[in-house]
Each structure stands twice: as C-alpha cells, then as structure tokens.
C-alpha cells in the first residue's frame, strides 16, 4: 500500500498531524500500538492556559501567547470539548501571596470563604485566573475521526515494528496488528515518529538515537464535586498542584516525576497517592473523607535537557530530522503540550511537506471544525426531543457535541438502544454502538475513553457486561472474545483502583468482584 506519510503514534501529536496532513491532501496512515490517546494525551490534566502553573512567580495568563491563541482556536473548532474553569489560588500569608504571579486579580479572605466555604481556616485571600480545560481523550478521538473523514487511514492496536530504509531514505514501515496477528509493509517516502514516551525505544530498535526526558504523571479521582472552583495550591514541597471539579468527580493532580520504567506499565504508587491526598487535605480538609475512586497514571516525554527538574522542563516541542543518521524522510515530533497540539501538528505537517519536496499548502485546521464542533448542541432540546433524562443528554453532548443527535437517532430507530447502561455517566446503549461504528473502537477497553465506560466509582458494575455484549454484536466477537474483553476491561480498572482502595470504595470493589466472578475463569 502506498502512502505519502506514515505517522507512528496515535496521541494528539500523531492524530493532529494526520488530520492536518489529510486536510492538505496527503495520503496518511497512522499506526498506534494501543488505543488512541493511550499515552500523555489521554492522561494529562487538560489545562489550556497553564492550570496551576499560571500562578507561578513571574508567570501570567498572558505569558504564553501561543497557548492563549490556541485555546481560542480549540474553542472555535471543538466547543463541546472545552470548558471554562475559574481557578483560585489561595494563600495563607502576605509573603506567599506576594511571591505568586502579580498580574492576576485578587480576592480577600471573606470573598474566598464565600466562594469556597470548605477551605481550611487562616487563609488571607486568593488569586483568580480564568482557565480552560479540554477533554484530552475525546480530543484525540475527534482528531482521529476528522483525519479519517478526510481520507487518512487510522489503525489503532497496530504496532510499528520497523522503519524500513533503503539507500539512506525511509521507504516504509513494517507493522503488526496486535489483535489479529496480521502483519505487512506500508510504503511511504516520509515517516513521522510521534510516539512520545515510546519514541526512545522505537528509535533504539531502528538503530537511531533519540533522547527524551521521560516522566510520569498521576492524577487522583475523587467521587463527587468537592468544590465549585478549581483550586491551585502548593504541595508540601512547593510543587504546584490542583484540585478541580470535572463532570461528577473531582480531579486532584498532578505528580510529575522522572520515570525510567516501561511506558507500557505505568501505575500510581502508594507514595504518589498519599502525597496528593496530604497536599490537598491541607487546603481542603474534606479531601480526607472523600472517596478516592481511582488513580490515573500516564507517561510523559519532554525534550531532552540535562539538569532541570521535572517542573522546570520545557513544555515546548521539537522536530528532529534523522537524515544525518541515514534515515532521510524520518522526522520525530517530540515534547510539546496538549494546549498547543494543533500548532505542533501544523509545524510538523509543514516540515513533512518540505521533506517530501512538495509545494507548501495552507493549513486548514484552524477553520475546519472537529467532528461534533460544527454547530452548538442544545442538551435540553435533545432531551425533550428524544425523551431522555436531561443529565444523560448533557453528558452525551459534552462528549459528542453536535454528533449527539446522530447517537440519539440510533435509539429512535431501535428503541432497545435506549437502554441506559450507566445512570451516573449517562451512557446509552446507543452511544456504545455509535462508538463501535464510528470511533475506531477495536477493544472493549477503548470505550473507557470513548464514553467513560466503567471508569466511575462503580468500576463497571452495571455497564460492563451489557457493553461487552453490545460491542461484541457490533464487532463480531464470539463468546470467548466477549469474555476476554470484559476481563481485560476489568483488569485495567482494577489496576487504577488498587492504590486507593479504602472506605466505601472497598465495599464497591467487593460488589464488583462478586458481580464479575465468572469473567476470565
């Protein structure tokens, strides 16, 4: 098979570049060894304007004009995936307040207590900052779908085994389908490595050199919305952390540290969990009583620098050309951040066109809406028109935007698909079916990021088996495969919950293990 460009890695760098290149008329293939957004893109904090870092001394919301501009672009092309997040950074002393960013508006102690009555006593006031958050995993899916709509071929669960070279030029990539065992050679004169944390390993296997600063980020998810605003605060060692309500949960994060282990095997440790909880409880005592439902860990990869600590590493991206190593046509897109991913993809596509010796074509990713972002969706109207609960419609719209109507029409045509798999997350059977048909789902666990299947506190008590059956019907799985997929889904969830099992979550775990006793036996 002939392509113009083969992209390795289905994170936001890879999928964003695939979309951009496809929009500019290139024939593109994306190879991703796992699910879309399985690395840093799917496990980041999702802040578009710096999050807790926006309050750092000397920083200001206007400090990063690129990020500020990109936040606006993202809001225009995918409004449903971007939410406005008012941030507060409480401080306990004048010195602490003075040491923070000077430009941000300030609140007094009384105003702060009125806005967030649950905070520890003794706070002097807070800085305020208006941030935006994006749903990283869904942004990956939207980019993948858009890339495919414009002609790109996106293959999740397909590993790039070898970058094939001839006479100092790349000519293609040998791939292996992790699920079917099928393998082949895809040909293209240009290859972009966007595998993030996996890039050094891939480079090593191909006899190339690529150094990054590998890291690991951990977020803790607590049941319920503990605050109204996002809160930025310093941990015991001064690291900038945040606690923010999201959907029906509160996210607490993020630890960031060097990680020199296997990027395929990143899990939160007890010490990271305790560190986050202790840090947050000092500001918001209710955190101690909150029910931690899971710890989300993911790999990171920053540009290589010797010396700076994890927090001081540059979040900027870099494009590396491997021509000098006898691999002309091979580029690596490394580092970067979620908030500027579109611009990174634009730069990468420009570079690919140059490497291919093609004339420059104007980038269109600023103007063309991402799937679901074409028109605003009205959750209340959808709820009324399709006879579903307002909360279900709201959750669906937050994930699907304008495509929510497409999902609900499935249930109109087949009323059985109106089956509500999860009341909490508002997952309809129709959304599972829709994802299986249109969102590159190949495994049951992929539905965790497509529609938040089995990621809530219940761990998939009600929804997992029903979703496995539905996905099995759509994707032609036999009974054996359905059970294997269900076991795999539960396994992933278990690994996220292990480190936080306590209190009510233990009762839930007991229930869940009883419910799925037959799975995997």
């Amino acid at each position: 098979v002939e392509f113009d460009l083969i992209i390795l890695g289905g994170g936001l760098n890879g999928l964003g570049t695939a979309r951009d290149a496809a929009l500019r008329g290139l024939r593109v293939l994306v190879l991703e060894k796992g699910d879309l957004g399985g690395g840093a893109s799917g496990s980041g904090s999702g802040w578009l304007r710096g999050g807790p870092r926006a309050f750092a001394a000397g920083a200001g919301p206007g400090d990063d004009p690129l990020a500020a501009g990109e936040a606006g672009v993202l809001e225009a092309i995918a409004p449903h995936l971007v939410s406005r997040v008012p941030f507060l950074r409480p401080f306990a002393s004048r010195d602490e307040g003075d040491a923070l960013a000077s430009g941000a508006p300030r609140l007094g102690a009384e105003a702060l207590a009125a806005l967030e009555p649950g905070l520890s006593p003794g706070l002097l006031g807070a800085l305020a900052h208006d941030d935006r958050a994006v749903d990283g995993p869904r942004l990956c899916v939207a980019n993948a779908r858009s890339a495919r709509d414009h002609g790109a071929e996106v293959r999740p669960w397909t590993e790039a085994r070898e970058v094939v070279r001839q006479d100092g030029r790349v000519v293609g990539v040998r791939w292996l389908d992790a699920l079917t065992g099928e393998s082949g050679l895809a040909r293209a004169p240009a290859v972009l490595d966007a595998t993030g944390a996996w890039a050094p390993g891939l480079a090593r296997r191909n006899g190339l050199a690529l150094r990054l600063r590998p890291g690991k980020g951990v977020h803790l998810v607590l049941a319920g919305r503990l605050t109204t605003h996002a809160l930025a605060f310093g941990a015991v060692d001064g690291r900038a952390l945040f606690l923010a309500p999201r959907g029906g949960e509160t996210w607490l994060g993020a630890t960031e540290g060097g990680f020199y282990g296997d990027p395929d095997d990143v899990e939160a440790t007890q010490d990271e969990v305790a560190y986050l909880l202790e840090g947050a409880a000092a500001l918001l005592p209710a955190v101690r009583e909150a029910r931690a439902t899971r710890a989300v860990a993911g790999p990171r990869a920053s540009r290589f620098e010797w010396g700076p600590g994890e927090e001081a590493l540059s979040r900027g991206h870099a494009l590396l050309d491997h021509a000098a190593e006898g691999a002309a046509g091979l580029l690596s897109l490394v580092g970067g951040q979620l908030s500027t991913a579109r611009a990174q993809a634009e730069a990468a596509t420009d570079a690919v066109l140059r490497a291919l010796g093609r004339p420059a074509v104007a980038c269109r990713t600023r103007e063309v809406a991402l799937p679901g972002g074409e028109t605003p969706a009205d959750a209340a109207a959808l709820a009324a028109a399709h006879g579903i609960a307002p909360l279900v419609a709201a959750r669906l719209v937050a994930r699907q935007g304008a495509l929510a109507g497409e999902v609900l029409r499935l249930a109109d045509d087949d009323p059985r698909l109106g089956l509500l798999l999860c009341r909490e997350e508002g997952i309809l059977a129709a959304e599972v079916v829709h994802a299986c048909r249109h969102e590159l789902v190949r495994r049951l666990r992929d539905l965790r990021t497509r529609c938040r299947l089995a990621v809530g506190g219940c761990g998939g008590l009600d929804c997992a088996r029903a979703a496995a059956q539905l996905a099995g019907r759509e994707l032609g799985w036999d009974a054996e495969r359905v059970r294997a997929e269900l076991a795999d889904l539960l396994e992933v969830g278990w690994r996220e919950r292990r480190a936080v099992l306590d209190g009510a979550q233990l009762a839930q775990e007991e229930l869940l293990r009883g419910a799925h006793w037959g799975v995997g036996r």
Partner: protein, 431 residues
C-alpha cells in the same frame, strides 16, 4: 425505650445471620435479629456455591465432578486460612441440609451432587444448592436440547453469548444448545427496564402466561428446557416460573446473573419471610458500636440484652469490616486480619492497599479476604489468639480468609459458620 431480654442476639440478616438465628430458634431459644438492610446475600446471584472443584478441568465430564462436600474438604486441606479449615467441614452436610429445609420456599432440595448453571456471561456457575426457578437448568442433569431464550425488545441479555458459552461444554456432558429470541418486552419502555422491574411486571396476571406463549412460538424442535434471563418474579408465591412453563409447554429455568439479580433479591426476601415464620424477632436498625454478650444495647427503640451474640455483619459491603486507613471491625473492635496466616508478629492489616493486593485482578486479594479469625466453634479470636468471649460468635463474610464474593465459597461459609454460630450461641456446641 423498651428493655428486652432474649437468649441470642444475631447482628446481620444475610444468609449467615439467618441460618444462625434459625439454628438457635430450632434449638428452642428466643432470638432477636437486628438487620440494617440488604447485604451481600441480596447482591448474590441467588445460587449457593459451597466449594468449586479446584482440580477439575473445563473438559472433565460434568458427571465425574466431585461433590461440593468433597471439594470443600480438599479446599480446607489446601488452604489453612480458609474458614473451612478453621471450622472443619464435618458439620457442613448437616448445615446445608438445615438451610435447604428452612429455605425450601425458594431452594431446590440438594442431593449431594454439584449443580452447573449457565451464567449470563456464557460461563458456568458451579453450586451446591440452587433456587427452584434455576433447577431445570442444571447442565449435569439436562437431557435433550436447551433453548436459550432472549427477549426481542431487551438488549440486557444476549442469548447467543450464553448459548455459545454453553456449547463449549457439550464435550464435557453439557446439553446441546440453541439460541432463540422470543417476541417479548416489546411495549414502549419495557425493554429498557432493570431486571427487578421486569420481574415485578411478570408477576401481574396474564404477563407470565404471555411470556410463556411467546417462548412456545420460537422453541426449536426437540427443546427440552428453556433457559431465560433471571426475571421470573420476585415473590415465589406469584408462581411466575410455573406459569411461564405451563404456557410454554416445557420446563423453564433462569440463568445466573450478576447483581443486582432477581434471584439474589428473591433469596433475601425469602430469608426475611422465613425468619418471621420461625418466630425470630427481626429488628430493623443499625447497632451502635460497643455492647457485647450480656451488655444492653439500644436499637430500633429497644434496649436489648442477650447472653449470647452472633455477629454476621458481613465484610465491606455489609459494614462488618471497614477500612479508613486501617482495617477494623467497627462494632466491637475485634482484630481484623488480612491473610497473616497466624504467623507470629506479622500484622499485615496495617499495611497500605498496594501491599495487600496483587496486580492480577483475578488472583486472590488479601485485602478483600480480610476479616476476623475464628476458632472451630466460630468464636472470634482476640489479638492473643484466644476467643474474645465464650458466648460471642461470628459468621459469614465477617470471618476472614476467603474472598466470599469471588471464590465460590461465600454462601457455603455463610451456612456453615451460621449453623455453628447459631448452635454455639444456643449452648449446643461441644464445649
């Protein structure tokens, strides 16, 4: 507040507490049972697993499988931490017969052989006792073609998935299977109801008959039994399985489901009814911490005093064991162990969750097997390894050493420990 004295106070109204209360009652004691709400029994699949045959391969013929009692003996020999090892399995047969007789309104009499029931996931559940509504589906006894019947309007049950799972058992003596779909759940909204609502719907006059008729219309030739989703009514008095079977013209059996399952809720309801029938006074409420044999305790407007106590408060789900940073038994402060195995000086219960679990989900998880330790008469042991009180007993999931929800022995342990605790509390045990 009314002062009330009784012979035996049972805390917890799941299967373990009920068997304890009924055993003490059968010995003529005056029994009060305090129950705070449905626990793990209500959340079970409703069939009573005693001990899976750990040595059996899926390909071994169902006819040759070991009896539940033999499997329990082998399990006890292999796992010294398991309640079967601590309590001994000598009384298991008698305890099972007692529980089966007491709950005969819903349970099919046992014959000592294991039963193999189809599970909604396509797996096969091995149990010692099953409900009457499940009995016709016993794969070991089934002769002829089993028709797995889905409902056309309902996606919650996948007949093809169940059938293809069962088909793999054919070589091991399982029946021939076929999946069919009956035209039911077709009224607007019905197909999206939860199982308990569907079960209640079927109790209404005419509805069970209509389902039976719909099943009859799609039965393949030679079908000997229809395996259906577990929604055949909550109240056995409504006789839903019998009515469906009569209209369908063949025996009908529920497959086992994951919770919340109708058979689990039905078992829980049957337990409550039997307790009242047998003259056990059931008090609804939660006991405050403290108390113990001979000490007065206030609950539900009563001040209760009993010389013998049975704690059957469950594990995490029931609230018998809790963890808030540390594992504890909240009611009386009994020591909780997590697989220490009695090793001197080893206190695992204080370790963090990652140290008490293993990465593989399906492996045994010490944290989820945490509970109190008991002697051979089911009396909980203190830190010193000596019973805390000679008339204080523990039963069911509160007793540690087994993962009651996931290792296939949970309800068997509930019956054995409940039986021993109830008889002990009634003063009938050896010492």
């Amino acid at each position: 507040v009314t002062a009330r004295r009784c012979d035996v106070l049972v805390v917890g109204g799941g299967l373990a507490g009920a068997v304890a209360a009924l055993a003490a009652r059968a010995a003529g004691r005056e029994v009060v049972l305090v129950r705070s709400g449905p626990g793990a029994t209500a959340w079970s699949g409703g069939a009573i697993g005693v001990a899976p045959d750990l040595d059996a391969l899926p390909t071994d013929h169902l006819r040759d499988r070991r009896s539940p009692l033999e499997s329990a003996r082998r399990l006890a020999a292999r796992r010294p931490d398991h309640p079967y090892a601590r309590l001994g399995v000598a009384a298991l047969e008698e305890a099972l017969a007692f529980a089966g007789a007491e709950l005969s309104a819903v349970l099919e009499p046992a014959d000592g052989r294991p039963r193999f029931l189809a599970h909604v996931s396509g797996a096969v559940a091995e149990c010692a006792l099953c409900q009457r509504s499940q009995a016709a589906g016993d794969l070991r006894r089934l002769r002829g073609l089993a028709a797995v019947v889905g409902f056309s309007g309902h996606l919650g049950f996948d007949a093809r998935l169940v059938a293809s799972g069962l088909a793999r058992r054919a070589a091991a003596g399982g029946p021939a299977v076929a999946a069919v779909e009956a035209a039911w759940c077709t009224a607007p909204g019905e197909g999206t109801l939860d199982p308990a609502s569907l079960a209640r719907l079927l109790e209404a006059p005419g509805r069970a008959e209509a389902l039976g008729e719909a099943i009859r219309l799609v039965l393949p030739a030679g079908a000997a039994v229809a395996l259906v989703p577990p929604v055949l009514g909550l109240d056995p008095a409504a006789r839903v399985p019998e009515r469906v079977a009569a209209a369908a013209g063949l025996p009908v059996a529920e497959v086992v489901s994951d919770p919340p399952s109708v058979p689990g809720l039905r078992l829980d309801a049957a337990i409550l009814r039997r307790l009242l029938e047998a003259g056990v006074e059931v008090v609804h409420g939660a006991l405050p911490p403290g108390g113990g044999p001979g000490k007065p305790v206030s609950v539900g407007g009563l001040e209760l005093t009993a010389p013998a106590w049975v704690l059957a408060t469950g594990r995490f789900l029931g609230g018998g064991v809790a963890r808030r940073g540390l594992l504890c038994e909240p009611l009386l402060g009994l020591p909780v162990l997590a697989s220490e195995g009695g090793a001197a000086g080893v206190r695992l219960a204080a370790r963090p969750p990652l140290a008490l679990t293993v990465r593989e989900r399906k492996a045994a998880q010490p944290l989820l097997a945490a509970g109190v330790q008991v002697d051979a008469t089911s009396r909980p042991l203190g830190e010193d390894g000596v019973p805390v009180h000679y008339r204080l007993f523990a039963a069911g999931a509160l007793v540690g050493g087994h993962e009651h929800a996931a290792d296939g022995t949970g309800l068997g342990v509930a019956i054995l420990s409940g039986w021993l605790a109830g008889r002990g509390a009634a003063g009938l045990s050896g010492d």
